[in-house]
């Protein structure tokens, strides 16, 4: 299992509101 981090933060925030689900927002500098 892995985490599918999305980078379209604005859309994630909109979907979170629609789905009433919390968001985990990671600010990272680790190699991609």
């Amino acid at each position: 299992m892995s985490i599918n981090f999305r980078h379209d933060v604005e859309n994630v925030l909109k979907e979170a509101k629609k789905q009433n689900k919390p968001v985990l927002l990671d600010f990272s500098a680790a190699p991609m």
């Binding site: 299992m1 892995s2 985490i3 599918n4 981090f5 999305r6 980078h7 379209d8 933060v9 994630v12 925030l13 979907e15 979170a16 509101k17 789905q19 009433n20 689900k21 919390p22 968001v23 985990l24 927002l25 990671d26 600010f27 990272s28 500098a29 680790a30 991609m32």
Partner: protein
């Protein structure tokens, strides 16, 4: 931290995960870094469905501590929403599954508070204070609970 199966399952079960990469997407970092006051990496924020921050982790942690902190944040969200039973269950899960992490004493404290909030029974607090005499007795949470004895 992130590749750990337990972390991945917890995140996928509880959140919509999003990432702002400081170097790969400096514009997004400028925008969301300012919006959420994130000036260091790693910074991990737990946001409620309205995008409001309710928990923050700054700096690296070993996997067990990292997972425990993520769980603690999620439990606090239920607590703030007055979902006392759910919050207590989440707090107790931290103590049961990750008892040697820094988050565990805090989780034990808030599990007791959640139970009290659900029942209005002061013995919940007294029992929590007693439990702190057996476990985590040198923690600041033991001190905070000492008034309940």
């Amino acid at each position: 931290m992130w590749p750990d199966e337990r972390v991945a399952k917890f995140v996928n079960d509880n959140f919509l995960p999003a990432r702002v990469h400081v170097k790969e997407d400096p514009e997004a970092f400028k925008k969301y870094g300012e919006q959420y006051n994130a000036h260091w990496t790693p910074t991990v924020l737990e946001l409620d469905p309205n995008g409001e921050e309710f928990y923050r982790l700054e700096g690296f942690l070993p996997t067990d501590d990292f997972l425990a902190q993520l769980m603690l944040g999620r439990a606090h969200m239920d607590f703030k929403q007055e979902k006392w039973a759910e919050a207590e269950k989440r707090f107790r899960e931290i103590v049961d599954k990750l008892p040697n992490t820094d988050a565990a004493p805090e989780a034990m404290y808030w599990a007791g508070v959640s139970h009290y909030k659900a029942t209005n029974d002061p013995s919940a607090l007294k029992e929590t204070a007693k439990a702190f005499k057996q476990r985590y007795k040198d923690s600041s949470w033991a001190k905070k609970s000492s008034i309940w004895v």
